[in-house]
Symmetry: C2
Subunit: 116 residues, 2 copies
DNA sequence: CCGCATCCCAGGCGATACTG
DNA sequence: CAGTATCGCCTGGGATGCGG
């Protein structure tokens, strides 16, 4: 049993999935592992995400302390950058593992023999 | 752009999350990395999952070729075991990374300084 | 450029009860 | 023991439009 922020998780795996689970969080995070990114850069690199969802997910990631939002201009056009916090950076090995497995799986999928 | 089973994913990360995303899949899988498990063993080790959900998730994992279901008796009481397929075993490093990060995060969470 | 507001929906997930 | 059946909530996420 693990506990963070007064929330309980039956195991450490479910705790991690609370941070990187969902359809988009890990995708956003992996784009931020390489560089800080602006909002529109993220949109272009993740073409199938909607603005609303990107906005909401970034907020949640920020609230979770994984992502840091920096505003560089006070008047429009705004310049905002998103980057990983030091806490967020601890996730990089996990995100790399996830990304790597996806690549291998897509390569190998047709040849794989599904057996015990 | 990645493609598996006629489904498209914007990046390899989202492909992986299709397999291990959701609230429970990774939790079930990590319990199977150590040993084959029976249905009720999994229920006991994941106390907060419902029977229905466990059943549905196991079916999906089986359909995805990650988990293998073996029936050992033809008459009740049934004996059924779930284990990872060879394809599912390729996920072990990913699952270990996820589990490990969750442990570290829960330990460190209160001391973490959230900064860029 | 960077969002928020509103509306809406599928399907993920839970609770409970029942079966071979 | 190992599941199904039924019901219903609730939230993640899509579509569209507006605002600083």
């Amino acid at each position: 049993m693990y506990c963070v922020d007064n929330k309980h998780f039956p195991c450490s795996t479910s705790l991690t999935m609370k941070y990187i689970g969902g359809k988009w969080k890990s995708v956003i995070l992996i784009h931020l592992t390489k560089d800080k990114k602006r909002y529109n850069e993220l949109r272009k690199e993740i073409p199938t995400i909607t603005e609303r969802t990107l906005s909401l997910q970034l907020k949640e990631l920020e609230a979770d302390g994984l992502v840091c939002r920096k505003v560089y201009t006070s008047k429009p056009p705004l310049k905002v950058e998103y980057g990983l916090t030091s806490f967020g950076q601890t996730l990089i090995p996990v995100l790399d593992a996830i990304s790597h497995w996806g690549k291998e799986a897509s390569k190998a999928h047709k040849k794989i023999k599904i057996e015990p």
